[in-house]
Subunit: 104 residues, 2 copies
Amino acid sequence: MCGIADALALVGDRWALLALRELGFGVGRFNDIQVNTGAPRASLSARLRSLEDCGLVERRRYSEHPPRDEYLLTDAGRDLMPALGELRAWGEKHASPRVRGTSS
Amino acid sequence: MCGIADALALVGDRWALLALRELGFGVGRFNDIQVNTGAPRASLSARLRSLEDCGLVERRRYSEHPPRDEYLLTDAGRDLMPALGELRAWGEKHASPRVRGTSS
DNA sequence: CGTGGTGAGTTCATAATCTGAACTTGCTGG
DNA sequence: CCAGCAAGTTCAGATTATGAACTCACCACG
């Protein structure tokens, strides 16, 4: 009925958007994403897999012998960046008013 | 670090955005939201409560004796609409490719 | 007046999901 | 050979969501 439901079905969980954000930053290593997002390894692994399955993320092997993969945004994933930008803008405006003003 | 995490902390669950979407449509009755989103009553109730707590949604009592409440978007909630719009656009472009082209 | 229906929630037991920690696998460094 | 990093996976346990049924309160009906 409305793309929102479809969108949320793909990226509507707690870590997908965070992971996508990291990918948008150019962070493509599993451990880095895991640390930056705070997601549990298992959850992140599953999420990355879903995202790859949805075509939002692409997995590139940057080392053969030790199986080292790197994740990249696909076209579809990159298209999500504007939405993420809006979300971030909103978050900074409404969800983090605590850090406005003097430090602490 | 980034507003996205904060934003997701508030609206990053499965039903929040859907509920917000309904509110954006002007649908403010509990049952209507529940039916339109498909969210379980209990989940929706909890979510609406969180959203109200976060200041994204306002509860207006439109009937006293039979406790009938109606939900409205606040300023903060309305500010989320652009993000929802982006998300919807993305969803229609990438998350619902099944309806592209001839049926079947 | 008693019955049934609508609307908004709540409660409860169950089920699914997520979480953290430890474990693998494969190679590199000492 | 042993330790360590990197990417995942596995496992048991904790959290949370889910659906169905139930409550309250009123309104309409016969």
